[in-house]
Amino acid sequence: MPIALYGFLQGDTVGLLILAEEGDTLQALARKLEDAASLRVAGRDRVQLVYNGKTMDPTMTVAQAGLQALDRFDVISG
């Protein structure tokens, strides 16, 4: 069952609804957001995912990171 999350990409003008799978890595989740916002924000080589104020390990999965439906995550340059 996909998990609906609020994603905010640094440089973008609006938050987007991103559907994640529990097994997605945070790196893949960040890429999903970048793809979804690519009309407005150019892709970056290196990004970091921030959740609850902490920079997360990109190899963790959505489930391991504890992301739950309607949580907010941010993707920033890094």
């Binding site: 609906a4 905010f8 938050g15 009309l39 907010r72």
Partner: protein, 497 residues
């Protein structure tokens, strides 16, 4: 026979003591508003216009005749067709947002006409209701003739009857402000905050934008409406002054709440028109300059006169003057098929102007427009490519204002998540969250568009959402005015080749 000066005070101050019922049964707090005070506290209620019904009808007749005359002289289809395309879309935004919102003002004023606490207040609210009927009918009359030429003008009437995301936001605002409001909060929020603070002056500014755009019909329409607003907005001041004597903290709360809520909607309507949908050589000022010159100074002066403080979020508000409507416009451009009017990309000259007017954050906005332009350059212009230069992921919305989560800055979006009684909410900003937390029972059960989609109430697929839920069609949904065919973009393509 009494002279006017003798008769008017008698007719306006026609209160009496009740003997068969209690005063609080005639004016229950739930609908008259709080604090509940006996009439003795309201009997000094006064305003400066002191109009009789006969004078009111005579004046309104003259104003209506003037509007008809301007429509007949410069409001014909051939006149409208000569207007610049971006401005035409500013008209469509205002036509939709204005007409039926004014009708909700009728309802609010009629509540004041029955449940206002003094007869002079009730008399003025009766005129206010008649004003708002007029403000409903004028735009419907003037824009109806344009529907056969451009079906997007049909949204002058249709807008509030749809579940379009912007209609949901506007309805959320006006339902609370006018339709479901008690008389005291309605008159403080509508007359003192929205009208005195924003729309009365907004109409002066809009008339100026319309004049610069050679749109004399719209100029006359908003000027005619503004003269009514200036009168009935006066109801709010004596209501506020009386409540201030008994509960100044409550007044400050109402001002803080309604200034923010009004700002949210106002910044979109007027900000987009001033800085994007008016041709560059016809812009008399930037939206921020307009706000600083016309809104902020006089509003702060008025607050001071009444012993009120600036709203607690004033620094956030001032910061938003530089960025909020820009983020909304860029977001809306990239989701333009979700709206009923068309958009333009700011070209190099416009972006240079915007950079001069908004130096604080323009670098970030410029990068967004560069990226959007790049997409058009890649796909090539043409109506067939519209949806290739359009967002596909679902944008998200604030659980209070119902507008997109486009606050803060592109570098740091100010959205915040709140868990309240086991349910998650998201707000675009601290003030929206604060308003929610003051009266959560008022807002908690309302679902924003995202939650409607997630619960299955609204379709998840964009085409279905647009046609079935937003009630748009391929003929009416928003497009790029030039279908991406901009001279400056072609010039770049040539030089790149």
């Amino acid at each position: 026979m009494l002279s006017r000066e003798e008769w008017l005070p008698l007719a306006r101050k026609l209160d009496w003591d009740y003997s068969y019922v209690r005063e609080d049964e005639v004016f229950p707090e739930v609908i008259s508003g709080r604090p509940w005070l006996p009439h003795s506290e309201w009997q000094e209620w006064e305003e400066s216009f002191k109009t009789s019904y006969r004078e009111y009808v005579d004046n309104q007749y003259e104003k209506d005749m003037a509007v008809y005359a301007v429509r007949d002289a410069v409001g014909r289809l051939e006149n409208i067709q000569k207007l610049a395309a971006p401005w035409m879309n500013s008209l469509k935004v205002h036509a939709a947002a204005l007409a039926l919102a004014e009708f909700t003002g009728v309802i609010g004023n009629l509540r004041g006409a029955r449940f206002g606490r003094d007869s002079a207040w009730r008399t003025m609210a009766t005129f206010g209701a008649l004003d708002e009927y007029r403000h409903t009918q004028i735009p419907l009359l003037l824009f109806h003739q344009l529907v056969r030429w451009d079906s997007q003008f049909d949204w002058a009437h249709k807008f509030y009857h749809t579940n379009n995301w912007f209609a949901v936001a506007a309805r959320h605002f006006f339902d609370e402000l006018t339709v479901g409001q008690n008389a005291i909060e309605f008159h403080i929020a509508t007359n003192f905050v929205l009208e005195t603070g924003f729309t009365n002056l907004q109409f002066v500014g809009l008339a100026s934008l319309a004049r610069e755009s050679s749109d004399h019909m719209f100029e006359r329409m908003v000027t005619s409406i503004q003269t009514d607003e200036a009168r009935h907005a006066q109801i709010g001041h004596p209501v506020l002054a009386t409540v201030m004597k008994h509960d100044p903290k409550y007044v400050q709360y109402l001002v803080d709440k309604w200034f923010w809520r009004s700002w949210r909607l106002f910044s979109i309507l007027t900000g987009l028109s001033a800085d994007y949908l008016t041709a560059l050589d016809q812009r008399p000022y930037s939206f921020k300059e307009f706000m600083e010159e016309w809104i902020i100074d006089q509003f702060l002066r008025t607050l001071h006169e009444f012993g009120l403080k600036k709203p607690w979020y004033w620094d956030t508000f001032e910061d938003e003057l530089d960025i909020y409507h820009h983020m909304i416009y860029a977001s809306a451009y990239t989701y333009r098929a979700t709206l009923w009017f068309n958009f333009v990309i700011p070209g190099p000259a416009e972006r240079k102007w915007l950079r001069q007017k908004y130096p604080k954050y323009w670098d970030d906005m410029d990068a967004v427009w560069e990226q959007v332009s790049e997409r058009w350059r890649t796909t090539g212009p043409g109506a067939a490519n519209e949806l290739a230069v359009h967002g596909t992921a679902m944008p998200t919305f604030c659980d209070l204002c119902q507008l997109p989560l486009s606050a803060g800055t592109p570098r740091k979006n100010s959205a915040r998540v709140l868990v309240h009684e086991g349910r998650k909410y998201i707000f675009c900003s601290d003030p929206c969250q604060w308003i929610f937390l003051q009266e959560p029972e008022r807002y908690a059960s309302h679902k924003d568009i995202v939650k409607r989609v997630l619960s299955g109430e609204a379709p998840a697929q964009l085409p279905n959402l647009l046609t079935e839920y937003f009630r748009l069609t391929p003929d009416t949904w928003g497009r790029d005015v030039h279908s991406g065919d901009y001279e400056w973009l072609r010039a770049r393509k040539t030089s790149a080749a």
